[in-house]
Symmetry: C2
Subunit: 451 residues, 2 copies
């Protein structure tokens, strides 16, 4: 069963893809209200993106260039590609990588099934890499296989959290003004040193901004700017907006971006990126129960406790009998965290059904999927040691699904008659579940925890 999670406009990351195809005027641009009112009949432009990814990442202090550093075992650049790819009106994405990383890049594209990507060779500087990307899109180049877009987005491989809103904003502004770029307030005051290493003057912080990415340009503008600019610019320049200004007299429109646009530069940024990604994919927990009678059922109680204890997390539930439609819908909506309650059926029956479904869905190709197999211990019916011993089979199942990027853990919940004690058990279970889902720690697969 291929669920086809990543269709034309399907979100590759949690959150909806806001817009439809660029040809579909209303749907595509309607959500940019100001622009739509001002110019209701304008045509959606053909849009491509260029992603310079030739950097060596020397500031990171690690041998791997930062765009190839793994986050949850997947290279950073793949997250950025995913963020661009889910915007269905971006027709082509051109990535510039150095010759030595060409093969690695192609492997990434294949492995994570990235679409609409072309790879070109990076230059020795950022500007030269961007220029190479633009050449691949230009019609005057004999080697160009892509069609020339009206507007081109330039983005960084190491800014994975770009969202569709800001992309739409810069593209809309670029169509109107010729060039546009995201900016952010300065975090530190900027100063100008004198040649002897002393302070010459400091800049007023309120009157300056940090120039971030994405930026967008009318293709003809930026391509002309790159064709006309000097070797010095290509070698030492850092700002595409400046090239458009200097060589085409285009004053770029500046768009206030969100803090999410930050660039992964240092090792600490990798830590931050990992935490943000973990948080994003842990916002939705699906509780799978092996019965439909929810209310009085202990699975229902656990679900209620999860809802009470985990604010900010969406908790939904479904039964697996005959592969339930709601649950399929949950998987289609890209939930990466499952709590599978085995009560009515034998020890792992429900968990096996869920694992089978997950394996077939391909859901875990982009993110590790957490499955917590929940079991209850009623003292009266089975001794603790024996129950534990039975449940230790989970080690074997976990090892098998680990290869598929599924992290399976067991959770045995004490089920005392005393209502208050049961509540305590369930609360502790919720804490453990939240933590397993939040941390996505592969070292804990196959473990049987007790609440």
């Amino acid at each position: 069963m291929e669920l086809g999670l990543r269709g034309a406009c399907g979100p590759a990351e949690p959150g909806p893809c806001l817009h439809s195809l660029p040809g579909e005027e209303q749907a595509t641009w309607a959500l940019s209200p100001g622009a739509a009112e001002a110019e209701p009949e304008r045509r959606a432009p053909a849009v491509a993106a260029v992603l310079p990814a030739g950097g060596s990442g020397e500031r990171m202090g690690v041998p791997t260039p930062k765009q190839f550093c793994p986050i949850l075992e997947r290279p950073l650049i793949s997250y950025t590609l995913q963020a661009l790819e889910r915007v269905c009106w971006i027709k082509d994405i051109v990535v510039a990588v150095t010759g030595e990383n060409m093969e690695a890049m192609n492997t990434i594209i294949q492995r994570y099934q990235h679409k609409r990507i072309s790879v070109v060779e990076a230059g020795v500087t950022r500007h030269r890499s961007i220029f190479n990307g633009l050449k691949a899109l230009a019609e005057d180049q004999p080697s160009s296989k892509l069609s020339k877009p009206e507007v081109v987005i330039i983005h960084d491989a190491v800014r994975p959290f770009v969202d569709e809103d800001v992309l739409l904003e810069v593209v809309t502004a670029a169509k109107e003004h010729g060039a546009a770029g995201a900016i952010r307030p300065l975090v530190s005051t900027v100063i100008s040193p004198s040649s002897d290493g002393c302070l010459d003057h400091s800049l007023e912080r309120a009157r300056h901004r940090a120039s971030e990415m994405p930026q967008a340009f009318q293709f003809d503008v930026i391509y002309e700017a790159y064709q006309r600019c000097s070797d010095y610019d290509l070698e030492f320049g850092t700002e595409c907006l400046q090239l458009a200004l200097k060589y085409c007299h285009i004053k770029a429109k500046l768009v206030e971006g969100s803090p999410d646009l930050w660039k992964v530069t240092y090792k600490r940024d990798l830590y931050a990126a990992e935490s943000i990604i973990k948080e994003k994919i842990s916002q939705h927990i699906c509780v799978v129960v092996d019965t439909k009678e929810n209310e009085e059922h202990v699975g229902g109680l656990l679900e209620k406790t999860l809802k009470n204890e985990l604010n900010h997390v969406k908790v939904t539930s479904g039964a697996l009998c005959h592969i339930d439609r709601d649950l399929q819908q949950n998987i289609l909506q890209q939930c990466y965290s499952f709590v599978c309650v085995n009560v009515m059926t034998s020890d792992f029956q429900e968990t096996h059904k869920l694992l089978k479904m997950l394996k077939e869905s391909n859901l875990s190709s982009l993110y590790p999927v957490v499955v917590i197999s929940v079991h209850f211990l009623d003292y009266k019916s089975e001794p603790f040691g024996e129950k534990m011993e039975n449940l230790m089979q989970i080690r074997k199942f976990a090892k098998e699904v680990r290869k598929r990027n599924i992290l399976l853990c067991g959770l045995l919940i004490y089920y005392p008659q005393d209502k208050q004690k049961l509540q305590e058990s369930l609360k502790q279970a919720a804490t453990i579940i939240a933590s397993l889902i939040r941390e996505r720690n592969s070292a804990l697969t196959g473990q049987l925890l007790v609440a």
Copy 2:
């Protein structure tokens, strides 16, 4: 047994305190080679620090001001105080907090036993807060209880990773030049917008720097600058170096700082800070064994595997018999991660001894201490279920020590006769141990994991 971990010059954080008292000429300043050669007989100045901490943290997107946000359950500002406090030649640290946070600040100082701290009321802007801090150190103020330093460091409450080297550098440079500050290369290009929200011009990145903290000043220079500066400066200014330039004509010496000087500004920075702190306190694992015959012993094998598998981590070992001196030394050197091997003695005997010692040492007052109680399962002598049931007592012990900020987990390692299988068990054990130590996840206390 009070081990007195945080004596006059004892490191409160992993890593040595490089320098001795400021009166001790050679020891204090010898490590700043250039300066020492140029001026071999100069006197070490009296140094104090001012820490403005009155910000509301609105950029963080959380209601708590960022300096009070918890990292591993301890407020961020406490880490910064700890970083300054461990530099024994800083005589006084003046913190400026708003009236409403005064009580919280005093509680933090008491709870984490911060020394040499005075609290003053913050002003409504950063400059006003710093001015209040300086007034507390000035002799001309009737309320001043502290003695006027020769050099004053100004630092941010939200830059916890400042180290002694850079503090020494800015203080040395300030003594010579009157003012000095740490700078960093710009991460983004800085631009100047025009009034219509378009690009006016962009600044050449290579010719500008980000002004970071710490900064240092001859006290008389910066105090005079604050006394003479305008209300506009106090209200809208952001740069102390600029005040020294404008009002005292002092051109500050700029000192290249390390990436560690970054300022916790956004939520992602809290994630990064937490990861960095976790990494720092996980660099050293102490393996506690209940026998001295190490080589052929299974505890010795585990230690060897840990050493092989965990590069970058220092693994030391010691026995607890009669509270071993080496182990005490380890605790004194501030190791926050213990693997306690119970082989020769009854189930938890060795773990209990270690826990008792840790509780008495006060080691866990600043960071959560991880203790992993390791046990071996020999199939022949005891059935698995029974062993598990016995070891589940760990839940009770874990709950008790959790209150003391000690995170206790159990780890049961299969001990097959087959050498290769044993090696696999030990390798998995090493992975689990590394992960428990790295994550310091309080939700897992009391769990019994199996390798």
